[in-house]
């Protein structure tokens, strides 16, 4: 079947059309979704966490990639879970979901809802892989709701091969004292899209986002993160870092939105991009929208090659230029990879990155 999604990853406020960054589109042909063959859930659910049929606490949930994309997933999903962590539960182990795109599952469209009731804490890890370079399509929608004082840790790790198009669309909501903690690793796929919109409505709610991306060959990565502060004393911290090699390209839109009334809100965003080839393209739109005076908003972005002084330091300790570059990229990714609670997955990701970077040897 065909899909043509519009207004994908839309910037909350438009700018010059010539820059081609106001939004993007997603057009793909893929195999009709059939129910997912295999068990996505690894092991059992931790105590206090159950599959639920209750409707998601927020209707018309807004997502980072937009309505078109969310509607698409909801009407075509062939897998996914609706989880609920009961009030007061601190789940003793993460919920791990593994999806593999293969000839028998060329299309994975997962629709997920995660609700953490008051005072609970839950970790959900979603891993997406593929069998070599088999053509495939993954589209996911994940809605998160952190109740009063609840914590949700979400990790979305994408390690797809060159034959896949992938997207992850997330909409998150936090009540008073709620905390949303998201880790996204966009490390594969021919075209990767990711959009996360978080509404910090409850007083003192928090958002923490850490994302890493790796582009090589002709990969394209398109990201849209929005932290919307409506509650008082809310805080958001978004960190994105990655590397682009060969002819890859990446577009990152990051918005900190202080809505009137979000007194004493704090929003910080940091972006760090390493570029390795003259043919890459890196686009960034770091927005701060503000209607409230009593806030602290900061954004810093830096783009370029590896710092020459740092490279020299490593080489003066014996590493070749290629080894030094690999080390620096791995070091950049390390804090994020380290947070993956599942040891096997952690190793898998490290190896995946190492494998991709081995081509740096030939770059010298």
């Amino acid at each position: 079947m065909d899909v043509a999604l519009r207004n994908v990853n839309m910037l909350p406020v438009r700018t010059w059309n010539r820059l081609g960054i106001n939004d993007t589109g997603l057009q793909e042909k893929f195999s009709d979704p059939a129910p997912y063959r295999g068990k996505a859930l690894a092991g059992s659910l931790p105590e206090g966490v159950s599959l639920t049929k209750k409707p998601f606490p927020v209707s018309d949930a807004e997502t980072g990639m937009g309505k078109d994309t969310a509607d698409f997933v909801e009407s075509h999903s062939n897998c996914g879970v609706s989880l609920c962590a009961a009030a007061g539960t601190k789940a003793e182990k993460p919920v791990v979901l593994n999806y593999e795109i293969s000839e028998k599952n060329p299309t994975v469209i997962d629709c997920n809802e995660i609700t953490a009731e008051e005072g609970s804490e839950i970790t959900v890890v979603m891993g997406y892989r593929s069998e070599g370079d088999v053509p495939g399509f993954h589209g996911g929608l994940t809605k998160l709701y952190a109740g009063k004082g609840a914590v949700i840790h979400l990790m979305q790790i994408q390690l797809l091969g060159d034959g896949c198009t992938h997207f992850d669309n997330v909409g998150a909501f936090a009540e008073e004292g709620g905390k949303i903690d998201i880790v996204q690793a966009e490390l594969g796929g021919k075209h990767a899209f990711s959009g996360v919109k978080t509404r910090l409505g409850g007083t003192k709610s928090q958002l923490n986002m850490n994302a890493i991306y790796l582009g090589d060959h002709q990969r394209s990565i398109d990201i849209n993160y929005i932290a919307q502060h409506t509650g008082r004393k809310t805080s958001s911290n978004i960190n994105v870092s990655g590397a682009l090699l060969d002819e890859s390209q990446k577009t990152f839109r990051g918005t900190i939105d202080f809505v009137r009334g979000a007194k004493q809100a704090v929003g910080h965003e940091n972006e760090y991009n390493l570029l390795f080839s003259p043919k890459v393209r890196n686009r960034t739109a770091p927005l701060i929208l503000c209607q409230e005076e009593d806030v602290d908003g900061q954004h810093a972005a830096s783009t370029g090659r590896i710092d020459a002084a740092r490279l020299f330091y490593l080489m003066s300790r014996g590493l070749s230029e290629a080894e030094a570059k690999k080390l620096i990229i791995e070091a950049q990714f390390h804090p994020v990879i380290d947070r993956i609670p599942d040891m096997e997955l952690k190793k898998e990701v490290s190896d995946f990155v190492k494998g991709r970077l081995s081509q740096l040897e030939s770059m010298g």
Binding site: I21, K279, P286, I288, E293, G297
Partner: protein, 470 residues
Amino acid sequence: MEKKKTMVKDIDRTIYDIKDKVHPSYEVKEGLTPEIVEEISKTKNDPKWMHDFRLKSLEIYNNLKVPDWGPSLDGLNMNDIVTYIRPDTPMRGNWAQVPDDIKNTFERLGIPEAERKSLAGVGAQYDSEVVYHNVREEVRRQGVVYTDMESAIRDPQYGSMVRDHFMKLVPPTDHKFAALHGAVWSGGSFVYVPPHVKVEIPLQSYFRLNAPGAGQFEHTLIILGEGADLHFIEGCSAPKYNVANLHAGCVELYVAKNAHLRYSTIENWSKNMYNLNTKRALVEEGGNMEWVSGSFGSHVSYLYPMSILNGENSRMEFTGITFAGKGQNLDTGAKVVHAAPHTYSDISTKSISKDGGTCTYRSSVVILPQAYGCKSSVNCESLMLDDRSRSDTIPVMDIQNDDVDVGHEAKIGRISDDAIFYLMSRGMSEEDARAMIVTGFAEPIAKELPVEYAVEMNNLIKLEMEGAIG
């Protein structure tokens, strides 16, 4: 613990009322007809190429859409504009109709009586004609050409140079208001500085205000020869009052190899104005372009001076401040395209919003594939003075090769209570403390301006902080 806010006296102002029919949305084709453009061309004695150019621009104008981003242009009344730019316009300024707050501001800023009238577009040029004339004499000795645009087009010596450059950097196809400008432009300055000539005194466009249309659709064309050096100052801090409410000017700057141009602007159009100005500079090898910009006036502004770094080792520096108060929606910023290797750009802006005003900082930094070894740094800081206002920062970077060093920083916040307390503990009233901090915030721009302008700008800020200016 209640955080005290400065009580800003809210002076009731009556904004000038355009009494004619008010159209709810901007009209596309009506109003501006080829006949009117023909009339304008005839009155100005345009050479044929300019006459044709105007008509072609009108065609382009009719086919372009109004931008779908940025502040609303719904209040723009095209019929009035059209009426105003007719050479035989019945619409003329009348001192009695000039709003009181404008008159008061002239008083507060110490503008002499005669200048007030000229700034309000209601009087003849007193004194400034004379001063202007003297300035021209001085620079003429250096071989500098400084004349009005209409004369420049017809000049036997420079006419072809003007024709070769006129609206080539900002073509009418660029956007709707560039096309409008191409059709109805009037007035403005042409400056040519021969190679290796350094113009010691800044040239000021202030002297150029004259009758209907001019000042609103003025075209400034500055061409610097190789190694030349010029500082050009546009505008002034006194509010420029105009009967019709659109300013669609155009500034084209050509900075040749190793030349240096500093273009300073303090813009304080009256608060009913739509300021849709297009400024662009083309910088060749080793050239250096500096923009200094203070935006205080207008109801709505779209202003993004753009620099094209076309030659190796060329550079651009932009320093600007935008202050949006009640009823203002100022959308300003800068654009730069790195089209050659080893180029450098630095954008540093500050913005202040208060009293329900909206400030938007909008920028784009594009580094093309062939522009290796470039460095770009963007720094924008926004100050919110209350929770009724709005401040948005919308920067975009498009980097198309890896041999770059691009940094970006943005900050937004309010005046810190600790800073106010510190200044108050040294005797200043809360109001004075705030004004001092805001003036300090604007300091980086003030220090780039000639002293009189810096002083005027600081006075302007003080007045804004007191809520005295409309």
